[in-house]
């Protein structure tokens, strides 16, 4: 595991060195990232305007909900977005090379792509997260802190699982499927508000089809003091089952890998 992680960072460092080969483009993307970080503050300002009280959630509660969801998503994105490029890896036969190396294909796929912009978005999420937590006005007891930590772990697993399924489908279709973004970027957008504001059916959908509510709606109830049941603290960890299913789909795809002509 430890060697796997150090290998992952070795991969990333080679990718960053590759980017540095193109000096101008590297410089521009660094400047771009810098500007984006400034943008964060603008973003927060507009957040103020956008969020309203809805269905019994106050402004600061919605903000907390969104900042946690964004953080979950950004953590998963930072490490697992490499699955996005998987369709081209399969199509141009690069996957053959991955298969003849003595490492887990997942590690190699994740190590095959890394955009600097991910660091910028991560930074953005951290700022929002810190702001959301401080502005929430919640008394932070130990159990609530643990709940947030579990939410971050659970949410990262959930989104990683979705990225993985996206890649696994490429074994069969050989193409990336754009509609899958509904489940990633889309969920991040909808996830600004606790899922019950969209009605009962959506709430059910987001529990039993893709279990977003496990890392958002339910533990949030505990954070906001609307329930005292300690089960709500560990709900986020339930996404480990979702991740296991995604991994199963990936393994199934792997066994059906067909390679290409030459």
């Amino acid at each position: 595991m430890k060697r796997g992680i150090s290998l992952y960072f070795h991969y990333i460092s080679v990718i960053i060195r590759s980017t540095m080969q193109y000096k101008m483009s590297f410089l521009l993307s660094i400047i771009g990232q810098f500007l984006i970080s400034f943008n964060v503050f603008l973003g927060i300002y507009f957040m103020f305007i956008r969020f309203n009280e809805v269905k019994g959630y106050t402004y600061s509660e919605v903000l907390l909900c969104f900042s946690i969801m964004l953080m979950e998503f950004s953590l998963a994105e930072c490490f697992a977005r490499g699955f996005d490029g998987f369709s081209s890896i399969v199509r141009n036969g690069e996957f053959d090379r991955i298969m003849v190396r003595p490492r887990s294909p997942i590690l190699q796929v994740l190590g095959s792509r890394f955009e600097l912009s991910r660091i910028g978005r991560m930074l953005q999420a951290v700022v929002m997260f810190v702001y959301g937590i401080t502005a929430s006005g919640i008394t932070w007891t130990l159990s609530r802190v643990i709940t947030v930590v579990f939410m971050l772990i659970g949410g990262t697993m959930l989104f990683t699982g979705i990225f993985m399924i996206y890649a696994a489908l490429c074994f069969f279709t050989l193409e990336g499927l754009e509609f899958m973004n509904v489940f990633t970027d889309g969920a991040r957008e909808y996830g600004k508000y606790p899922f019950d504001v969209y009605g009962k059916n959506i709430l059910r959908l987001c529990t039993f089809v893709v279990p977003y509510t496990l890392v958002q709606y339910y533990p949030l109830q505990y954070l906001l003091g609307r329930t005292e049941s300690p089960y709500y603290i560990i709900y986020p960890l339930g996404t480990v089952f979702f991740l296991a299913v995604c991994y199963g789909v990936w393994r199934y795809g792997l066994r059906h890998y067909k390679s290409n002509g030459s």
């Binding site: 070795h10 060195r17 590759s18 067909k258």
Partner: protein
């Protein structure tokens, strides 16, 4: 030792006629045709043997290499490489083999060659001493000194191929698969690659399986040739066996060039 017994592998190939209308139709009902890439392939290769694996395009050469290197799973049949089933113990298996795909690079395109080598050292967990020794030996023999600090995208094809071969030998594999290693190389590079492969087999007793369309490669390197066509092994023998087989039907002089002999053989066996 490598053994393949009655290995079969087939692919589904999607077919449609030209045109937008046909493309739309294919969205709903796709005609597929099953192509047998390998049907009942069997052979045994001993340790430190060097074998040429030839056949026309689409004969099943690459499929065989992909099965032997654990990339593809065959539908039926057995395959053992030093006691391992390649697609079942994939990780253990690929640690001990090297694969060069002539048409595809395994190096990182935008960084100097040495960066790729360092990453491979981590990927294969090569012990430090072994890595330094191998790197030194390969650098000397393949004359990589000048190339190591150059980004891969700026190497010529011949230079790159030398680096590719070095990259697949850093972890001292016992078996090396070479899939068209001399494709597109000029005469000097070709000879350099050939010499190197020859020596590797002699000095390190590495088992080498070589697929190529270049008959001079085969003549220079291998004593044993396996000829495959339409997914079947059609001949397993020496170059002389091949000459005899070609001459048996055709009363022509045996002094034809190898290319002509092979072309005649392909025609005669009806495997094109």
């Amino acid at each position: 030792m490598i053994t393949m017994e009655n290995v079969c592998k087939s692919y589904k190939v999607a077919k449609r006629n030209a045109g937008m209308k046909e493309a739309c139709k294919a969205l709903f009902r796709r005609e597929t045709e099953t192509v047998k890439a390998l049907s009942d392939v069997s052979f045994t290769i001993n340790d430190s043997e060097m074998v040429g694996y030839i056949g026309p395009n689409g004969a099943g050469k690459s499929s065989t290499i992909k099965i032997l290197s654990g990339i593809l799973t065959p539908e039926s049949g057995n395959c053992l490489v030093d006691g391992r089933v390649p697609w079942k113990n994939r990780i253990e298996h690929v640690k001990r083999i090297g694969v060069v795909f002539g048409q595809r690079s395994q190096l990182w395109w935008d960084v100097p060659v040495i960066d790729s080598f360092e990453l491979l050292k981590d990927i294969y967990s090569i012990p430090k001493n072994e890595y330094i020794n191998n790197l030194e030996e390969l650098t000397g023999k393949l004359k990589l000194n000048e190339l190591l600090r150059t980004p891969v995208r700026q190497l010529s094809l011949g230079q790159r191929m030398r680096c590719e071969i070095a990259a697949s030998l850093l972890h001292s594999p016992k078996i090396l698969f070479l899939d068209e290693p001399t494709i597109g190389l000029d005469a000097v590079s070709k000879l350099a690659v050939r010499d190197f492969i020859m020596n590797l087999n002699k000095e390190h007793k590495t088992t080498i399986i070589l697929t190529t369309h270049d008959m001079q490669d085969i003549e220079a390197l291998t004593r044993r040739i396996i000829l495959i066509g339409k997914g079947r092994v059609l001949m397993d023998g020496t170059i002389d066996d091949m000459r005899r087989l070609a001459a048996s039907n055709e009363a022509s002089d045996a002094e034809k060039s190898l290319d002509k002999i092979v072309a005649a053989l392909y025609q005669q066996l009806n495997i094109l």
